[in-house]
């Protein structure tokens, strides 16, 4: 382990952005040891990507390494000026895998050619030999039928397969160091697990050193030997994976771990970090996290803390470790911040159906061909519950949300809201009532707010539409109340959306829905585009609002770990079909459908010991033989529905009995 392969010393990276100098990385040092897997964790804007991009000279044109040294192979990379110098390292010795596989492949060239090019370019291998090698590499990254696939173009590959190809191009020259920049963020959970395993296997096979850049602590627990946590352009803590997960010292690391939705308990608030990450245009004084740390020390706001040693391998940059700080007291306080909530005693005895879908199908036309995005879906949402719809990208979950919202017309079936058929053309006053009582929260806070309108207009839009205010005064009061409810300041109303961070923008989006005083809110992946530290904030907010205003949610998500904490019932959707629907606890205890099982097995767990030993189930739709025995939607146990044919139902029933028996005997 003491074989240093790369050494970054006091790196400062600056950008010239819109006439101002921004310091993206502030004096960060890092040692990388041969053969290890290091994960750099941080939120967007923490500088983690920029930091590692500087190792291969891939900073954007307006950025530069201002100070510091990058020692690799006896050379100081920070002194490199020309592209030619960088090319002797980049791709050859240090290679990179990016987040979005579509943008890192050339759509006009066959994937084989792209890999072959890398080989000939760096090593002058003759074409035929390089081709043979490329096919070998394709096989290595788990692409079947490599000879045939060699001649195919990127668009013929699925997202996960494309990422495999990207990895293949990265390892084509047998680099010593592989930097993976959020390699799985754009992929579905089940694919994500496979890619992580692939990188792990390749690392062993090729004896590589791997750096992961990620915001997902589950991924970190799975892969990393060592972890470095970055905040506001600085590494604030680093240590062995176990040390970071089991004994974090920096208040930011602690808060990050505590705020994971996976760890939440139903009926209790999640721990969350207040505020927003700092803007790096400003000069940061002292500890950058102090502004958001409810237990900040006076010294935090004045002087930047040095690194304190926790163990041989574990260091943290916080004044809390100073002998004068009363460490224990603070930890205890942090952990008890998630305040206890009253017992969940209203076990809805009489359930009132609020929204009901009956055999709904939605068809789309794509290139003249029709395809069903949603097929024969039926479910009820009861008043006051949180109903979650979980599925991978392309499963039709968003389409269902938008169909209820009357944005997409449905082609078959009926949708009822409060016993009223809404999937037909509504009269003006009916439409008004519907638009008011059903609201939507969107996935991408960057795209869902009108950039050219002030927050005041955005939040009041619905009020204007239906004249839901008496006078100007009344409107202002309503808007301000909504802002207050989502924890934003009144002064923000006169600003434009671009002046806010992602989490703040998402809260503006929630305020826009709240001001209408809806009964039912469709939340379309409201947290998946947000940073980890912000997610808990938004989940708590949604839960709080639900209690206070007696709201009903349809929560659309792709990640089971998130919905476990918040939902009453969960429906799992696959390729336009709902395959399983049950109470949240029931689904996690007795998952029956193989697809649900595979989703559950892929959920990342923020515990290195558990994560490293977990087994991933891969779902193959071919296991269902529906040629004769047609599947149907049946209630296999009270409240537990499944999409299966007669034979499968029998098997599932047996499985249920067995599970039940196991529990009894334990």
């Amino acid at each position: 382990m003491d074989n240093k392969i790369l050494e970054a010393k006091n790196i400062v990276i600056k950008f010239n952005l819109r006439g101002k100098i921004l310091t993206a990385v502030r004096n960060s040092s890092l040692d990388l040891y041969k053969g290890e897997t290091l994960a750099i964790v941080g939120e967007s804007g923490s500088g983690k990507s920029v930091f590692t991009k500087s190792f291969v000279g891939m900073l954007d044109k307006n950025g530069w390494i201002d100070e510091g040294e990058l020692i690799y192979d006896g050379k100081d990379l920070a002194k490199f000026k020309t592209e030619k110098e960088w090319l002797s390292i980049r791709g050859k010795k240090i290679a990179m895998v990016f987040q979005d596989p579509m943008t890192s492949l050339n759509p006009l060239k066959t994937i084989g050619e792209q890999i072959r090019e890398v080989i000939t370019w760096h090593r002058n291998t003759p074409k035929d030999e390089a081709k043979k090698e490329a096919i070998e590499i394709l096989k290595m990254v788990g692409i079947d039928d490599a000879e045939k696939r060699y001649k195919q173009y990127p668009h013929e590959f699925s997202g996960g397969m494309r990422q495999r190809v990207v990895i293949a191009t990265a390892i084509a020259c047998r680099p010593e160091i592989l930097i993976c920049d959020e390699p799985t963020t754009a992929l579905d959970v089940t694919i994500q697990a496979q890619i992580l395993k692939l990188i792990k296997d390749l690392q062993k096979e090729l004896n590589m050193t791997v750096i992961y850049i990620t915001h997902d602590l589950g991924v970190v627990a799975n892969v990393a030997d060592r972890v470095a946590v970055m905040y506001a352009g600085q590494i604030v803590e680093y240590g062995l994976s176990n040390e970071i997960f089991k004994d974090p010292k920096h208040p930011y690391t602690k808060a990050l771990l505590l705020s994971l939705p996976q760890l939440g308990l139903k009926g209790e608030d999640l721990f969350y970090i207040k505020g927003t990450p700092p803007n790096l245009y400003r000069e940061i004084k002292g500890d950058a996290f102090a502004l958001r740390n409810p237990h900040a020390l006076k010294i935090d706001t004045m002087y930047e803390p040095p690194f304190f040693k926790v163990s041989e391998t574990h260091y943290a940059k916080t004044w809390l470790l100073h002998e004068k700080a009363n460490d224990n007291l603070v930890i205890e306080k942090l952990e008890h911040n998630g305040k206890q909530k009253k017992e969940d005693n209203k076990k809805n005895e009489k359930k009132e159906v609020l929204v009901s879908l009956r055999n709904v199908s939605v068809k789309f036309k794509l290139d003249g061909k029709q395809f069903k995005a949603v097929e024969d879906v039926s479910f009820d949402i009861y008043k006051g519950e949180t109903f979650s719809l979980v599925g991978e990208s392309g499963s039709g979950k968003t389409t269902i949300g938008r169909a209820i919202m009357k944005i997409h017309p449905i082609s078959e079936g009926e949708i009822y809201c409060k016993d009223k058929l809404i999937s037909k053309k509504l009269k003006k006053d009916e439409m008004k009532a519907f638009r008011q009582s059903v609201q939507m929260i969107f996935q991408d806070p960057m795209a869902s707010l009108n950039e050219r309108a002030k927050v005041d207009y955005i939040v009041s839009e619905g009020l204007y539409n239906f004249k839901l205010y008496k006078d100007e005064e009344d409107r202002k009061r309503k808007v301000e109340k909504a802002m207050e409810e989502v924890g934003l300041l009144k002064d923000f109303l006169t600003r434009f959306p671009h002046e806010f961070s992602g989490g703040q923008r998402q809260r503006i989006g929630i305020a826009r829905a709240l001001v209408m005083e809806p009964e039912f809110i469709i939340a379309d992946e409201p947290i998946s585009a947000l940073d980890v530290s912000i997610r808990a904030q938004i989940i708590n907010l949604l839960n709080k609002l639900k209690e206070e205003k007696d709201l009903t949610y349809l929560f659309i998500a792709h990640d089971l770990s998130v919905v476990k904490f918040i939902s009453d019932r969960i429906a799992v959707i696959h390729k336009g079909h709902i395959v399983e629907l049950a109470d949240s606890d029931e689904l996690f205890e007795n998952p029956l459908h193989p697809y649900t099982k595979s989703l559950l097995s892929a959920v990342p767990i923020p515990d290195p010991d558990l994560e490293k030993n977990k087994k991933i189930l891969i779902y193959d739709p071919k296991i269902h033989d529906y040629s004769v025995d047609k599947p149907k939607w049946v209630e296999i146990k009270k409240g537990h529905f499944i999409w299966a044919n007669d034979k499968e139902i029998e098997d599932y029933q047996k499985e249920l009995d067995r599970n039940h028996y196991d529990k009894e005997t334990n």
């Binding site: 006439g19 505020g275 502004l291 006076k298 004068k324 938008r402 795209a447 009108n450 703040q504």
Partner: protein, 313 residues
């Protein structure tokens, strides 16, 4: 206890006391003061060429519009004095005189004024009609097939053919030229705007507005038009040189404005006849013409680049 120091600062116990969390500061720290329009203009004016060309356009337009005020030279004033015909540039006639003894300097500025006026009117009509039609075209999906066909028909006929045809049918006049030139341009603009509107229409913030039941009128004025403003400015700037060029072309083939109207097109056309003997009669107006069209063209393109948020660095 011993006193402790860090970087020359005494670490007192007081420094290790907790301080309360300031909600305002914790929210405020993420504040960014990015502004689309400010960044667009900043990026635009960062290029020295842009500043120079904008200055050129402003000076030329202001000068040509004010010229009649402080000059008493009549551009139509012919003379029977043969000595004053086809004069070379001199201290009295800076660009010389033409075959009838008219002052080319004066005619150039009157011509510039008329041509600019014509171009601006055409640009306003094309981009104005184009934006409105484009917004509707993008939003009302039913008319799409019809509009696409119309677009194909209009753009596939070579513009010279119907420019000439229209000029034959209609009496040559200012209005005729405007109609002739704007008749094809608007649909090109409309198609361009339609494509942009299509993507805006599917954007999440617009779907959010639909979910809130925002009426079409407000969607167009609040969600669509504000996002098109930079495109409209850019397209208008690019239409100007094209219109001036077309006017010159029509004048050149003898179908432009009536010969007694002073425009750059007519001047170039008249200068052409004597080009071998008196080249400056054509060259001076052409020079001014080129400066104007090239400036507008480059400014339009520079603005297009500057208005793209990707270039706001």
């Amino acid at each position: 206890m011993d006193k402790m120091y860090y970087n020359g600062v005494e670490l007192t116990d007081d420094l290790f006391n907790e301080i309360p969390l300031d909600e305002h500061l914790s929210e405020e720290s993420g504040y960014s003061n990015y502004s689309y329009w400010r960044s667009t203009f900043r990026t635009f004016f960062k290029s020295k060429l842009s500043i120079f060309l904008v200055a050129v356009i402003v000076v030329l337009s202001v000068f040509s519009f004010l010229y009649p005020v402080f000059s008493n030279v009549d551009p139509q004033q012919v003379t029977l004095d043969m000595d004053k015909w086809n004069m070379n540039a001199n201290s009295e006639n800076w660009f010389g005189t033409d075959g009838l003894g008219r002052d080319i300097w004066a005619r150039t500025w009157y011509g510039t004024r008329n041509s600019l006026l014509l171009a601006l009117v055409i640009a306003l009509i094309e981009v104005g009609v184009g934006s409105i039609v484009g917004a509707i075209w993008g939003y009302v999906r039913k008319i799409d097939p019809f509009m696409i066909e119309l677009y194909n028909i209009i753009t596939n006929i070579p513009s010279t053919v119907y420019l000439i045809l229209l000029s034959y049918i209609l009496e040559p006049s200012f209005t005729t030229i405007v109609i002739a030139l704007a008749s094809s341009g608007w649909i090109v603009e409309a198609k361009f705007m339609r494509n942009k509107v299509l993507s805006l229409r599917e954007s999440e913030y617009n779907i959010a507005s639909q979910c809130l039941g925002t009426p079409l009128k407000r969607i167009v004025t609040k969600n669509i038009i504000p996002h098109l403003v930079s495109l409209i400015i850019m397209e208008a700037a690019l239409t100007v040189p094209y219109s001036i060029g077309s006017e010159v072309f029509l004048g050149f083939v003898g179908l432009g404005l009536p010969l007694d109207t002073v425009t750059l097109g007519n001047m170039v056309n008249q200068g052409r006849a004597n080009f071998m003997l008196y080249p400056y009669q054509m060259l001076y107006p052409t020079l001014v013409l080129c400066i104007i069209t090239i400036s507008f063209y480059i400014v339009g393109n520079k603005f297009a680049d500057a208005s793209d948020p990707k270039n706001h660095v």
